[in-house]
């Protein structure tokens, strides 16, 4: 059933894509979908841009203003917009899309997602949803977090670029010295720049950012009220240097590596196999990061290679135990 749905999605059936996203959001068939979504290395990949900032700063509104600019550049765009889910009832009021403007344009897809509290402002299995939208053929994917705070940096792991929205009157200059999301942003937007203290906020943020001269972060003033700054923002996003390696892509590479090494893995000793299975289970469960998993996998390989080299050496030196293959 899920294979059929997947095939329909691959053939451009938008309702199938939509249903697939629902399954992913509910955590259904996740393993099957993950194995179906390993794309060919030649497949064109989408540019994923995340938008974060506190509730009410204007993330949805800003995305709504950027969508026509993305469409004008002849790119198809999908938006995954997260809003909080009630810890009490499990219910949610997903109110992002109505700020993004209404459209029936085929090149625009918007999905509202509920995110549990304590989930870094993101819905579950976001990486798989991104892969599905990419497989369907969207060129640009916007992620919108739940109204997020200073420490909510997880969205950066899913995106090629992270846009942080700030607004005037939201703190003194020490706020901008703090560690966290401010360090992780690729572009900072001072939204509601029509407000009288926007200049002051801009100057404070600029001063704080410039204290770390190692990387230059564009800071842009945008006013949706005055309809100013959106084109400049889209230009800045388009001209960002080549993508960083998203963890979801690293995950795919890792999967390729595992598959290509499968023959070798079969030769591993029982103990190593158990360790390998645990490693894979932890990684799939998300308790082990891809980078750590790769490190441990690599260590496991070298150890098993050394062990087999040891055995070969010992066998080779022991009289009478030489295998026919090893001779000569």
């Amino acid at each position: 059933m899920i294979g059929d749905l997947f095939a329909r999605m691959r053939h451009g059936d938008r309702n199938a894509l939509s249903r697939l996203l629902s399954h992913i959001a509910r955590g259904e068939f996740v393993d099957d979908i993950r194995s179906l979504l390993i794309p060919s290395p030649q497949a064109p990949s989408a540019r994923v841009i995340a938008f974060t900032g506190s509730g009410g700063v204007g993330k949805s509104t800003l995305i709504g203003r950027l969508i026509p600019l993305v469409r004008a550049a002849n790119r198809k765009i999908a938006v995954l917009a997260c809003d909080p889910q009630s810890p009490l009832s499990g219910g949610a009021l997903l109110g992002d899309r109505f700020r993004m403007g209404s459209t029936s344009d085929d090149g625009v897809f918007i999905r509202s997602l509920a995110a549990l509290s304590g989930s870094s402002g993101l819905a579950k299995h976001l990486d798989l949803m991104i892969d599905a939208l990419e497989a369907f053929g969207f060129d640009v994917i916007f992620l919108e977090t739940v109204g997020a705070g200073q420490g909510d940096v997880a969205v950066g792991h899913h995106a090629d670029a992270l846009v942080l929205l700030l607004q005037p009157e939201s703190g003194d200059d020490v706020q901008w010295e703090k560690a966290g999301v401010l360090e992780c942003a690729d572009v900072i937007v001072i939204h509601k720049a029509d407000l009288p203290t926007a200049d002051q906020t801009m100057a404070q943020v600029r001063a704080a950012i410039d204290l770390s001269p190692s990387h230059h972060i564009p800071i842009l003033r945008v006013s949706t009220k005055l309809n100013q700054g959106h084109a400049e923002l889209w230009q800045a996003l388009e001209s960002l240097p080549a993508r960083r390696l998203r963890p979801s892509i690293a995950r795919r590479l890792f999967q390729h590596l595992i598959e290509s090494q499968e023959c070798h893995l079969r030769e591993l000793e029982a103990e190593a196999n158990a360790e390998l299975n645990k490693l894979l289970a932890d990684w799939q469960a998300g308790t082990l990061s891809t980078v750590d998993a790769a490190r441990r996998l690599s260590a496991l390989f070298s150890r098993s290679l050394l062990a087999s080299a040891d055995v070969a050496l010992r066998d080779g030196l022991a009289p009478g135990s030489r295998s026919p293959k090893a001779s000569g």
């Binding site: 749905l5 939509s18 219910g91 899309r97 209404s102 029936s104 509920a114």
Partner: protein, 133 residues
């Protein structure tokens, strides 16, 4: 645990009265449903696109403008074209009694007029419904 139902709530046409639909949205939220609030001044085309992209179980339309006999059939027709017949449609607002049977005949699951209690709407939506794969 059963999965929360996804409900799109929208106002079509030029009617600007959104107090009622917001109260309903809040009640559905508190009953554990996922409400996608599409808001005011939607075109039938945009509403149907929202239902499709959000993979909704229900579409709730609120009309207080008197345009329901024009806009509701249009929405239902577009939903059929988009292969969304599995989505239940409910209509709330000012719907004259004489029009209710006509709307039900067209495929509306139920209408809720003034004085409807929130419990009545919830009870209707929470009745078990089959989901197509």
């Amino acid at each position: 645990m059963s999965q929360p139902q996804r409900v799109v709530l929208a106002k079509v046409g030029l009617d600007g009265h959104d107090r009622g639909i917001k109260v309903v949205a809040r009640a559905l939220r508190d009953a554990g449903m996922h409400v996608i609030y599409a808001g005011l001044w939607q075109t039938p085309e945009a509403v149907v696109r929202t239902v499709a992209d959000e993979d909704a179980d229900w579409l709730g339309l609120s009309l207080l403008s008197g345009a329901h006999m024009t806009l509701v059939p249009r929405v239902l027709e577009l939903m059929k074209e988009a292969h969304l017949q599995h989505v239940g449609v409910i209509v709330g607002g000012i719907i004259p009694e004489a029009d209710v049977p006509k709307l039900l005949e067209m495929g509306v699951a139920k209408t809720f007029g003034p004085g409807t209690s929130l419990d009545e709407i919830l009870a209707f939506l929470q009745k078990p419904r089959e989901r197509t794969p």
